[in-house]
């Protein structure tokens, strides 16, 4: 489980656009209707005689159920891969969770004061129409490099939120906390 500080809230979750997930999973729909055609082709190519003790329809329904369940699991593997590949924009930092398949996962984070610039690239008619594009967060750190989310949903909103949080963070850094004798806390801006 991702660990956040006690006073840290997630402001925005950034994922790839749903079209990316759909384009990966669309072939499952074709696979779902493939068995009758596949059976017709195989019966002509392979001269194997299939005999059953009972109803052939029952066998066909049973095997088709197993096939659909296989596709169903595949669909959710795709969805999990899509859903867990995410950026969490919090009040303090951006957490990049990179899910590569099911068994590979990389988590890195960057504080707002390390961010230098954000590039948003929306390319093509489909991307413009569906509002998705590449978002690159450039950092001052040499070790972490830059964060890139390809085909992110609502890229402009991401930039606005990150800049907004970045500005808030800068304002906080310029503040001085003065604790008075009564124990109450006041904040003074320069």
């Amino acid at each position: 489980m991702l660990q956040l500080d006690s006073d840290e809230q997630v402001v925005l979750e950034v994922r790839k656009h749903w079209i990316v997930f759909v384009s990966q999973a669309i072939f499952l729909c074709f696979a779902a209707i493939a068995p009758p055609f596949l059976l017709a082709v195989l019966s002509t190519l392979l001269p194997i005689q299939i005999t059953t003790e009972g109803s052939f329809v029952a066998v066909a329904v049973f095997l088709y159920c197993l096939w659909i369940l296989t596709l169903w699991i595949s669909f959710f593997f795709y969805w999990t891969d899509y859903y867990l590949d995410v950026w969490y924009v919090t009040e303090k930092r951006i957490i990049d969770v990179e899910q590569k398949g099911i068994f590979s996962r990389n988590v890195s984070s960057i504080r707002f004061d390390k961010i230098q610039d954000i590039n948003v690239e929306v390319r093509g008619v489909v991307a413009t129409f569906l509002n998705y594009g590449n978002v690159e967060v450039q950092t001052a750190s040499e070790t972490s490099g830059s964060f890139i989310m390809k085909n992110a949903s609502r890229p402009e909103l991401i930039r606005q939120v990150v800049f907004s949080q970045h500005n808030k963070q800068s304002e906080r850094a310029q503040s001085v906390h003065i604790i008075k004798e009564h124990g109450t806390e006041h904040t003074t801006k320069f």
Partner: protein
């Protein structure tokens, strides 16, 4: 000069010489059991990821309900198909 006989060569590479398949209820139950074991392992992997990394979001809860609900439906149809076999 004849170096090889095609019919002989084909027979060398034929591992299974199957002309007919006979399906009975025992065979179907065996396939079902085998599939259920594989399904359980894979759904366990998915469940682990959703619990561990899903951050307890509403989308993950809905995904769990839909995944197991639809799976249960198809398993029941599969069992019904074998029973009516």
């Amino acid at each position: 000069m004849v170096w090889y006989d095609i019919s002989t060569m084909q027979n060398q590479f034929l591992v299974f010489n199957i002309n007919s398949i006979h399906i009975n209820a025992t065979f179907l139950w065996f396939v079902f059991l085998l599939f259920f074991v594989v399904y359980s392992i894979l759904s366990g992997i998915l469940q682990y990821h959703w619990t561990e990394y899903g951050m307890g979001t509403r989308a993950v809860h809905i995904a769990q309900i839909v995944f197991f609900g639809v799976s249960l439906f198809f398993f029941l149809v599969g069992i019904a198909a074998i029973s009516l076999f």
